[in-house]
């Protein structure tokens, strides 16, 4: 029952967000601020994680193959596809659910508790439109490039690890080009857009309706991270089911 109550309220929040901006320029500025926050704030952590995940994937695959008859170059192929299809979008999704999700929820929660949202409304600004819409749009535009970057860095991490393991760069590169299916990139993009939307909208919902005090902001941002992560994994499965 509670689920339906929250889902209904979530839908209403999304509906109220879709009004004509009072002033396009101000909304645009807010959008840029959010894009900057999400992008710059997440670049380093996503970069570091992807590099190492790519490296680990390469190492472990090389280890698993051991002295079997599989050719070396398959490492490039495996790293490329696991990064693109699964690891880059899902791991980045989880990291972003933590970082961006908690950020958005606590920003909105603070604005709610300190009556900044009321202040906007009194001025005649639609707070859903001005605060939530730019966050969701910014996420949808910034998360996919971040995830593409994650995939590239992962592949580079794999390259680096494979070389240290004794696999020639030429072979790794050969693997990278082996049986490349552009549709996998489509899967990655679809996942990134869905994850971005889910993470941002759920975090906004949690933050926007905070009641109480500072502790409740903390709770809301924890919920944003937990629900965001679960949804990322769940929709990862759904997309895999539908698109493969």
């Amino acid at each position: 029952m509670k689920f339906f109550y929250h889902f209904g309220k979530y839908l209403l929040m999304m509906r109220d967000m879709l009004t004509r901006p009072e002033n396009l320029h101000m909304y645009w500025k807010e959008l840029l601020r959010q894009m900057n926050g999400i992008g710059v704030g997440s670049l380093i952590i996503i970069g570091v994680i992807s590099l190492f995940v790519g490296a680990v994937t390469a190492l472990q695959f090389a280890y698993q193959m051991g002295s079997t008859f599989f050719p070396d170059y398959l490492i490039g192929y495996i790293v490329r596809d696991t990064m693109i299809i699964e690891l880059a979008p899902t791991l980045s999704g989880l990291v972003l659910a933590g970082k961006v999700g908690s950020n958005m929820a606590s920003e909105l929660g603070t604005m709610r508790i300190s009556e900044q949202i009321d202040a906007l409304e009194i001025m005649g600004v639609n707070p859903n439109g001005y605060l939530i819409m730019p966050k969701i749009i910014a996420a949808i535009f910034i998360v996919p490039p971040l995830i593409v970057l994650a995939a590239l860095l992962g592949i580079y991490g794999g390259y680096w690890a494979a070389e240290n393991y004794g696999i020639s760069p030429a072979n790794y590169q050969k693997g990278l080009l082996y049986l490349f299916d552009p549709f996998n990139v489509v899967i990655m993009t679809v996942k990134s857009v869905i994850f971005a939307f889910l993470i941002a909208s759920v975090a906004c919902y949690q933050g926007f309706y905070v009641k109480g005090g500072a502790l409740d902001i903390g709770r809301a941002s924890t919920r944003a991270v937990v629900y965001g992560s679960i949804l990322v994994i769940f929709f990862d499965y759904i997309v895999a089911l539908v698109l493969t």
Partner: protein
């Protein structure tokens, strides 16, 4: 002038306002007083439409606010300024950007005109040289001033203040009160102020509405206040035994400045 008729507000089954009828005049500082938790904030939030009353009507200079659509309410809101209890400044913006925000959203002024208006308002609240500071970097009293400057930047007809001097030292509180009084008279605004601070009540109460247990227990001017024989009001004003003794000692001879 704002008129309120039989305003009621409940949360779930908890009645907070149980039928309030009163009016607030233009060019005057109208005070809503009452103990903490008596529903002052709820009352003001109903007046400006941040909360929807359970029943009753609110009329702004003849326009029935409670009957308006969301969009029509937005029009009235551009004539409303509000100072929140915690100032409610936007954390991500500087003092200057905070005050300029309503102008950026709603006015068609040039950048220079906006800047001039912002500086004018900041000077009006005696705050100069803090333009580039963030809310986290200034004191509570300064935040209130920025809040006032932001509230008046669009020349509102109606100004609402929720406990404008809570959390301030008595001296700063007095300055803020005087400022609000001056601005009200200068621009002939309908100003409504929530407070439980007796200094403010005696200093600026041109019209006072006393809320108690969801009802309007008493209303009048500050001059009538001391002569009132309303027991509940008496208890509220002379909250401490010390004050009560003092009042007995002084008889009825406490005089107010004009």
């Amino acid at each position: 002038m704002i008129e309120v008729k039989d305003l009621k507000k409940s949360f779930e089954d908890k009645a907070i306002l149980k039928g309030i009828t009163t009016s607030f005049e233009a060019g005057k500082t109208n005070l809503i007083i009452g103990t903490s938790g008596s529903g002052k904030t709820v009352f003001v939030k109903c007046l400006v439409g941040l909360l929807t009353p359970t029943s009753g009507t609110i009329t702004y200079d003849g326009i029935e606010f409670t009957a308006l659509s969301q969009r029509e309410k937005k029009d009235i809101r551009t004539k409303i300024g509000m100072l929140f209890q915690g100032s409610a400044l936007f954390d991500s913006m500087t003092v200057e950007e905070n005050v300029m925000f309503p102008l950026n959203m709603f006015s068609k002024m040039t950048a220079k005109e906006k800047m001039d208006r912002v500086n004018f308002c900041l000077e009006r609240v005696n705050l100069v040289g803090a333009n580039k500071k963030y809310p986290a970097e200034i004191s509570g009293g300064m935040m209130k001033r920025v809040g006032i400057a932001r509230a008046i930047v669009l020349n509102p007809k109606y100004l609402f203040c929720d406990e404008p001097n809570s959390g301030l030292d008595p001296k700063t509180a007095l300055v803020i009160d005087e400022l609000l009084g001056d601005i009200t008279h200068e621009y002939n605004m309908t100003t409504i102020i929530n407070t439980h601070d007796m200094n403010s009540v005696m200093g600026m109460g041109e019209k006072i509405v006393f809320l108690h247990q969801g009802y309007k227990e008493w209303e009048g001017t500050r001059h009538q206040l001391l002569e009132s024989d309303n027991e509940t009001l008496y208890d509220f004003i002379f909250a401490s035994d010390f004050l009560k003794e003092l009042r007995k000692g002084a008889g009825q001879s406490i005089k107010l400045s004009k």
